[in-house]
């Protein structure tokens, strides 16, 4: 199986490479359109800021390419946010794969710190990504912006507000949390994605 990781200007892409290798798959990190179109599975991970990453994708026409992909695609963290319609971070239009906007956390209590950083639980998990899941499994989050609940939500987490921990529509999947940093639970999610 060929797994490609979208190469762009987001940070921490290599932790996904390591996670894939631990599952016995050696992915290719590339921004080459042909390689991306040909791969069996695509990962679109990373940490970063919406405006600068979106500008980078547009400059290299990767925005068009990602929208056209037909194979299973998994966006992670900023990847998920970029797959939405618009982000409040930098007030930027994104890829528009998921018809929902990305908002900034606005805490009302002092103890609700932003970024939402650490281990939190998933609930209302649905679909293939979460096959074999029990209730209240923990995954690792680091983010200051979130995707509200919508018709494409396939897992929720409650922090300040209930939000979309994962999204799914057609061949596009995305998680706000980092499965590559979520221990054995994260490995199961990545394996489920590889098994699609």
């Amino acid at each position: 199986m060929e797994v490609a990781i979208v190469k762009y200007n987001a940070g921490n892409i290599y932790s996904v490479v390591h996670a894939m290798k631990r599952l016995g798959v050696t992915p290719t990190v590339t921004d080459d359109p042909e390689m991306l179109l040909r791969a069996d599975k695509i990962l679109f991970p990373g940490q970063g800021e919406a405006k600068s990453t979106m500008a980078y994708l547009r400059e290299r026409h990767l925005d068009e390419l990602i929208r056209q992909l037909k194979q299973p695609v998994l966006g992670i963290c900023i990847g998920q946010q970029l797959m939405c319609r618009h982000s409040e971070e930098g007030d930027v239009d994104c890829l528009g794969i998921f018809d929902v906007d990305v908002l900034k956390f606005r805490p009302s209590r002092h103890e609700d710190k932003v970024p939402h950083m650490g281990w939190n639980t998933l609930s209302h998990t649905e679909g293939d990504l979460f096959k074999g899941f029990g209730t209240d499994e923990f995954v690792y989050f680091v983010h200051s912006y979130y995707v509200p609940l919508s018709s494409v939500t396939c897992a929720t987490t409650d922090y300040i507000v209930p939000f979309s921990a994962a999204l799914h529509q057609g061949n596009f999947y995305a998680t706000q949390f980092h499965p590559e940093k979520s221990g054995s639970v994260g490995e199961r999610i990545l394996q489920n994605f590889l098994d699609l």
Partner: protein
Amino acid sequence: MALAKRIIPCLDIKDGQTVKGTNFVNLRHAGDPVELGKAYSMQGADELVYLDITASHEGRKTFTELVQRVAAEISIPFTVGGGINELADVDRLLHAGADKVSINSAALRRPELIDEIAKHFGSQVCVVAIDAKETSEGWFCYLNGGRIPTERNLFDWAREVCSRGAGEILFTSMNHDGVKNGYANEALARLSEELTIPVIASGGAGSMQHFRDTFLYGKSDAALAASVFHFGEIAIPELKAYLKAEGIQVRI
């Protein structure tokens, strides 16, 4: 459910090996850093901290290689610290696969480093470690692993660190470190109330109750410890079961 309180084993690294000082001296060996980190991860540690206490250039290279091995083999977040003086050090360690970097003396000497890290890599990668000691005059920050006192007040410095864009504060009380009599919960609670970023408690863990107390009374978001884990005095699965029974949200 809410965000889980984190349990963080800290591994001090010298020449590629784990060591732990008692009151910052008397180093004892405690295993291979990658194997130990993996074992902690399997037991339910929520994050790991690897602290490079080597001074030499050769040691730095060994440490960077270790960071690469940790990133390849361990599937939970980890922070690295020790000897980070400039943006290039941060870049090197993040590139090697670390999730966060912890800066200490370099931030006290040149606070702009915090702004620079936050701007270039994001606040979430920037942990500022503060070593402080309580005297009759109040709490004061120390440089170089607790060897050099400064005039900086702990709470003033913590507020500045926060406003410059740090993502977390790792506070070690030198009065409590190595004594195994509990964390500095009064100072921790004050930090947690005054700051808008997570606070990691460090220094003083000797029993499972100490962890409960720092979450309940110190209002800490995470608790870091070394020797109680390395020498098997506290096992993480038991610690987490205990904390859960005490009504504290932990990841099990």
